[in-house]
C-alpha cells in the first residue's frame, strides 16, 4: 500500500460522496428539460439533505433498532462500494478487500437491510415495497453478476482495478460479449436504481412505488442518509458502467498525479453524458406493470448470460 495509493483512495471516496447528489440533481434537471418543465436547481439534492439533517427525526412507535440502524448500514455499504469501484484511479488499496463478486454482495447487503427495515414497522406499504424490491433484486442481482463475470472472463480477474486496466488497454472496437453485457447492464441499472420503466423515483402514487414505499416511514437524518445512499448507488452504478464500457481516462497505477487530476474532468464529463442518457431513457419509456418486470429483467439476465457465453467461447 503506497501513500499515493492511499491518498487516491481517500480522494476518490470523497469525490463520490460529494458528487453523488450532484448527479441526481443533474438527472432531475435533464428530465425536467426533456419533458418541457422548468427545471429545479442543480443543487436541490444538497439542500434537501441539509434540510433533512436539521429536522427532528420521527420514528414509528413500534420501530425496532433494525429500523434505526439500517440507514447507517446502507450508507456504509455504499461508501465502501464507492471506494472499490475505480472511478478516478485504479491504484486503490481497498479494492483488494472486495472484488466484483463482493461488490454485488455489498449491494445485496444494502438491499436486504432496507427491505428488512421496510417490514419492521408493519405497514401495508412497507411490506409491499420490501416484497417488490426483493422481487426486482432476485433477477437484477444475477444479471449484474453475469455482466461483471463477462468482464472478468475477458480480463482474467475479478478485481475491478485489474478489469479496468485490461479493458482500457484493448483496441477500440465493438466486442460482441461486451455489447451484450452493456445492454444488460443498462437494463439492470435502471431497475436497481428505482428508475422508469421498473420504478419511478418521482412517484408517490401508492400502488406503483417500490423504493419510495420502503422508505416511507423514514424522516429527518435517517431519510437524509437513505437519500444520500441512493444517490451514491446511482453514482456507483454509473461508475461501474463507465469503468467497464468506457474505461478511458481513469488514472493507471503507474501514472503521476497529473493523470489523477485529469481524471476528474473526464469523469464529470462522462457522468454528465451518462446522466443525460438516463434522463432520456426515462423520458422515452413508460413504467411497466410490476409483473412485466420479470420479462424486462429476464431479458437482461439472458443477455448477460449470452455475453458471458460469447466471452467464454470466443475469448472476448
Amino acid at each position: 500500500m503506497t501513500p499515493a495509493g492511499f491518498l487516491s483512495q481517500l480522494l476518490q471516496v470523497a469525490v463520490a460522496l460529494v458528487l453523488a447528489p450532484l448527479l441526481v440533481g443533474w438527472v432531475n434537471q435533464c428530465r425536467a428539460w426533456l419533458s418541457n418543465k422548468s427545471a429545479p436547481s442543480l443543487l436541490l439534492p444538497y439542500r434537501t439533505i441539509r434540510k433533512l439533517f436539521h429536522k427532528d427525526a420521527v420514528v414509528a412507535d413500534n420501530a425496532s433498532p433494525v429500523f434505526r440502524i439500517t440507514p447507517y448500514i446502507v450508507f456504509g455499504s455504499m461508501t465502501l462500494a464507492a471506494a472499490i469501484v475505480p472511478s478516478l484511479a485504479t491504484d486503490l488499496p481497498f479494492a483488494r478487500a472486495a472484488d466484483a463478486i463482493a461488490l454485488v454482495g455489498l449491494f445485496a447487503l444494502a438491499r436486504v437491510f432496507i427491505a428488512l427495515a421496510a417490514m419492521d414497522i408493519g405497514t401495508a406499504f412497507g411490506s409491499i415495497g420490501a416484497r417488490r424490491e426483493m422481487f426486482v433484486g432476485f433477477l437484477a442481482e444475477p444479471a449484474l453478476l453475469m455482466v461483471l463475470f463477462t468482464a472478468s472472463l475477458i480480463s482474467g480477474s475479478t478485481a475491478l482495478p485489474t478489469i479496468v486496466d485490461t479493458l482500457a488497454h484493448r483496441d477500440i472496437a465493438i466486442y460482441p460479449s461486451l455489447a451484450f453485457a452493456g445492454v444488460a447492464f443498462t437494463m439492470v441499472s435502471l431497475a436497481e436504481n428505482a428508475r422508469i420503466p421498473i420504478d419511478n423515483p418521482a412517484t408517490h402514487l401508492e400502488l406503483t412505488m417500490i423504493h419510495e414505499a420502503m422508505v416511507l416511514e423514514y424522516s429527518a437524518r435517517h431519510l437524509a442518509l437513505i437519500e444520500w445512499a441512493s444517490a451514491l448507488k446511482l453514482f456507483n452504478y454509473s461508475c461501474i458502467g463507465l469503468a467497464l464500457f468506457l474505461p478511458f481516462g481513469i488514472a493507471q497505477p503507474d501514472a503521476n498525479w497529473l493523470a489523477f487530476v485529469a481524471a476528474m474532468p473526464v469523469l464529470i464529463g462522462k457522468l454528465a453524458v451518462g446522466g443525460f442518457a438516463l434522463a432520456l431513457i426515462e423520458t422515452l419509456s413508460a413504467k411497466l406493470r410490476i409483473f412485466r418486470a420479470p420479462e424486462f429483467l429476464g431479458t437482461a439476465f439472458l443477455l448477460a448470460v449470452l455475453g458471458m457465453l460469447v466471452a467464454q467461447l470466443l475469448g472476448g
Binding site: D56, F94, A115, L116, G122, T123, F125, R131, I290, F291
Partner: protein
C-alpha cells in the same frame, strides 16, 4: 486400551482414534444413563445434555487436532466372526468429525434448556435416542469397512426416525416419520449395492481393499450412480427430497437442527468418500451429472422455500437448496479432477467443504431459533407470528446473523463459500469438451439465480417472524429464550461470524483434505490472515475483515458526525403509512403474500389448487394450496403401482392349508426341474 485393540502405528501415547472411540462410547453412555430416571427433566436436561455437549466439544477438538495428521486405522473385535469393525481416521473424516462435534455441542446445550415434559416420548428415552444418533453419525464417519458403515448408517436412520416421531400421537407426524424411514431405506439399499459393486468380486468389504480394486469404467459408473442415488436420498437431492419438508417440521427443533445441520452432511461425507477415495478413477460425465442434479436441486429448493408458510418447512426447503449448492461443488470437483486441473479441483472442493461447514452453523442457528419461537408462541405458521424482535430480542438478533449468513451476504460465512465456488466457475480454463465449456457458464448463471433467491427467502423468513407487528394478540406474552438456549444461539452466531471473517485460516485447515482427495491444495500467493486470495491477489481477493471494519467504521463515524454536527433528537409517533388512519397488523404482508410474486413467475413449478369464492356465497372462502408436482408425478404413481401389485399377489393367498400345500408342491416340482 483393551487387549483386543490393535493399533497399526506404534504410537506411545493413546492415539486420536482411540480418543474418538471413547467419545463414541461416552455418548452412548450418556444416552443409556438417560434411562435411569427417564421422567426427570432436571436430571436429563441439566446433567446429561450438558455432558453430551462437553463430549461434542472434545470431538470437535480431536477432529481439529487430527485434520493434518496421517491416517490411523484400527480394528475393533466387535461385529460378526471374521468380520470385525475396521475404523480409520484421516483428514476427510477428521473434518467431518469437527463439523459434527461443533454442531452437536451447540445443539446439545440448546436441548438442555429445550425439552419439556410432553405427551410423547419421555425425556430420558429421547436422551438415549439423541445420543445414539450422535454416536452413530460419528461411527459412520470413522467407518473403514462396508459392514460397520452400514450398521452405523442404519442406526443413524433408526435413531433419527424415533426422534422425528417424538410426538407420535399426531397422525401427520407418524406419516412424516414413515416417509422418512421409507426413503432412508431405499437410499440404504442403493448404498449397499454400491458397496457390492465396489468390492469388485473379491468378497473383501474393507475400504482398504476397495481402494485397491480397479473397476472398469462401466462398473465404476454404476457404483458412482448408486452412491449418488443412495447418499442423495439421505441428503435430499431431487427427486428424493420429499422427506425433508415433512420430517423437519415434525421433529423437535434441536432434532431438526441436528438432521439438517449434521446428518445431511454425513451423506455428503459418504458421497465424497466413495467418489474420491474408494473409486480410483473418475469420468468427466459423472461431474456433469452431479452438477446438473445439484443445480436442479438448488433451484427447486429455493423456489419452493419462497412460497412456504410454515417456518420449519421453509428452512427445510432451504436445506435442499444448500445441499444442491454443495453437490454442484462436488460435481465441479469431479469435472476438474477428471481433466487433471487439480488446483481448480482443490478450490471447488474447499468451497464444497466450507459450505457444508457454514450450512451446519447457520442452519442449526436458524432451526434452534425457530425452536425458541415455537416454545414462546406455540406457533409454527408464519401467518400467525410477527414483531417478535420486541418480545424476544436475544433470539431475534442472533437469528439475524444466521439470516444474513444464509442470504450469502458479506462479511458473513455464507458469502465466503459462494465466493470461492464462483471463483472456480470463473477461472475454468477451456476444457476438452465443448459441451462442458458451454455448460459451465450456464451453471454459474443458474447458481447465482439460486443464491439471489435465497436472499428473498431470508427476508421473508426474518421479516415475517421477527419484524412488523404481531399478527396475533397472544404474541404479546411471548418470552425470550432461556439461558441454555441463548448460549447455544450465541455459539452458532459466533461461528457464523468467525467462519466469515477469517476464511484464510479455515481454508488452511482444509488443505490436508484437498491434498488427500484431489492431490493439490489451494494456492495462497499473496494471502495473509486478513486477505483471501485463492489463486493470486491480482486475480481475485476478498478481505472480510476490511469489509466489516469499513462498514462498522463508517456507521460509527456517521452516527458521531450526524449527532455532533446536527442533533440526535428523536420523537416517537404513530406510523405514517401515507396517512392511512386505520392500520391493523392484518394489513401487513402474510407469508403467502410475500411469496406471491415468485409463485406467479414460477407458476409451472407448483401444483397450485385454488378454492375461489363465488359472488353468491353466504360465507365466502378463499383457499390456495401449493404442492409439489413430483409428489403427484412420481411418488403417488409408484405407490399406486405397489398397491396394485400387492393386491394381485394377495389374490393367491387363500387362507387354506391345502392351497398352500399345493403351492409348496408346485415350487418343489419346479425346483426339481431346474436342479435336475
Amino acid at each position: 486400551m483393551g487387549p483386543g485393540l490393535r493399533w497399526d502405528d506404534a504410537d506411545p501415547v493413546i492415539s486420536a482414534l482411540a480418543w474418538i472411540i471413547s467419545v463414541i462410547v461416552a455418548w452412548l453412555a450418556v444416552g443409556v444413563l438417560g434411562l435411569v430416571r427417564p421422567r426427570s427433566i432436571r436430571y436429563v436436561g441439566r446433567v446429561l445434555f450438558p455432558i453430551g455437549a462437553v463430549v461434542g466439544i472434545a470431538l470437535a477438538a480431536l477432529g481439529l487436532a487430527s485434520i493434518t495428521s496421517v491416517a490411523q486405522t484400527t480394528v475393533l473385535p466387535l461385529g460378526l466372526p471374521g468380520l470385525p469393525f475396521h475404523l480409520r481416521l484421516d483428514p476427510l473424516s477428521a473434518f467431518f468429525l469437527l463439523l459434527l462435534g461443533a454442531a452437536a455441542a451447540g445443539i446439545s446445550v440448546f436441548s438442555a434448556g429445550y425439552f419439556r415434559a410432553s405427551e410423547g416420548t419421555a425425556p430420558g428415552l429421547m436422551c438415549l435416542q439423541y445420543h445414539v444418533f450422535l454416536a452413530a453419525m460419528a461411527l459412520v464417519i470413522v467407518a473403514d469397512d462396508a459392514y460397520v458403515f452400514m450398521v452405523a448408517w442404519e442406526t443413524m436412520a433408526l435413531a433419527s426416525f424415533f426422534l422425528v416421531t417424538t410426538d407420535h400421537r399426531i397422525p401427520e407426524i407418524r406419516r412424516a416419520g414413515f416417509i422418512y424411514l421409507l426413503i432412508a431405506h431405499i437410499g440404504a439399499l442403493a448404498i449397499l449395492l454400491c458397496f457390492g459393486v465396489l468390492q469388485g468380486g473379491l468378497g473383501d468389504y474393507t475400504f482398504g481393499s476397495m481402494r485397491s480394486v480397479s473397476l472398469s469404467g462401466a462398473w465404476g459408473s454404476i457404483a458412482f450412480l448408486l452412491a449418488l442415488f443412495g447418499f442423495g436420498a439421505k441428503a435430499g437431492l431431487l427427486p428424493l427430497h420429499i422427506w425433508l419438508p415433512e420430517a423437519h417440521p415434525a421433529a423437535p427443533s434441536p432434532v431438526s437442527a441436528l438432521m439438517s445441520g449434521v446428518m445431511l452432511k454425513t451423506a455428503i461425507y459418504g458421497l465424497l468418500r466413495v467418489t474420491f477415495d474408494l473409486l480410483n478413477a473418475q469420468l468427466w460425465w459423472w461431474g456433469v451429472v452431479a452438477l446438473v442434479l445439484g443445480l436442479l436441486t438448488a433451484l427447486f429448493g429455493v423456489i419452493f422455500a419462497t412460497v412456504q408458510t410454515d417456518m420449519k418447512r421453509l428452512l427445510a426447503y432451504s436445506s435442499i437448496e444448500n445441499i444442491g449448492i454443495i453437490v454442484v461443488g462436488i460435481g465441479l470437483t469431479i469435472l476438474f479432477k477428471s481433466y487433471d486441473k487439480t488446483l481448480l479441483a482443490a478450490i471447488t472442493l474447499t468451497a464444497t467443504l466450507y459450505h457444508a461447514l457454514n450450512h451446519a452453523f447457520f442452519k442449526s442457528l436458524l432451526f434452534l431459533a425457530t425452536g425458541s419461537v415455537l416454545h414462546a408462541t406455540k406457533e409454527r405458521s408464519l401467518g400467525k407470528l410477527g414483531g417478535l424482535i420486541h418480545r424476544m430480542p436475544w433470539v431475534a438478533w442472533l437469528a439475524l446473523v444466521g439470516t444474513l449468513a444464509m442470504a450469502g451476504l458479506p462479511p458473513l460465512n455464507g458469502f465466503v463459500s459462494e465466493w470461492l465456488l464462483l471463483q472456480a466457475f470463473l477461472f475454468t480454463p477451456s476444457l476438452p469438451q465443448s459441451f462442458v465449456n458451454m455448460l459451465v457458464p450456464l451453471a454459474a448463471a443458474a447458481l447465482v439465480l439460486a443464491v439471489a433467491l435465497a436472499a428473498y427467502v431470508m427476508v421473508k423468513f426474518y421479516g415475517v417472524v421477527f419484524l412488523g407487528r404481531p399478527r396475533e394478540s397472544n404474541l404479546a406474552y411471548a418470552h425470550d429464550a432461556g439461558r441454555f438456549e441463548r448460549i447455544a444461539l450465541i455459539w452458532f452466531a459466533l461461528g457464523c461470524i468467525v467462519l466469515g471473517v477469517f476464511p484464510t485460516n479455515v481454508i488452511a485447515l482444509l488443505d490436508s483434505v484437498d491434498a488427500m482427495l484431489v492431490g493439490s491444495t489451494v494456492g495462497r500467493i499473496g494471502s495473509s490472515w486478513w486477505l483471501l486470495a485463492p489463486l493470486n491477489a491480482d486475480r481475485s481477493s476478498y478481505s472480510p475483515v476490511i469489509v466489516l471494519a469499513v462498514i462498522v467504521g463508517v456507521v460509527l463515524l456517521t452516527i458521531q458526525i450526524v449527532h455532533r454536527q446536527y442533533h440526535g433528537r428523536l420523537r416517537k409517533g404513530p406510523a405514517w403509512d401515507c396517512g392511512f388512519p386505520a392500520q391493523t397488523p392484518r394489513m401487513q404482508d402474510t407469508a403467502e403474500g410475500f411469496g406471491q410474486p415468485i409463485r406467479q413467475v414460477f407458476e409451472q413449478f407448483f401444483r397450485v389448487e385454488r378454492i375461489l369464492p363465488s359472488p353468491f356465497d353466504a360465507s365466502p372462502r378463499y383457499k390456495v394450496t401449493v404442492d409439489d408436482h413430483l409428489w403427484h408425478w412420481l411418488y403417488l404413481p409408484v405407490a399406486r403401482a405397489t398397491e396394485a401389485v400387492a393386491r394381485a399377489v394377495g389374490r393367491i393367498q387363500q387362507g387354506r392349508i391345502s392351497v398352500y400345500l399345493i403351492y409348496s408342491f408346485i415350487t418343489l416340482l419346479a425346483l426339481l426341474f431346474f436342479v435336475r
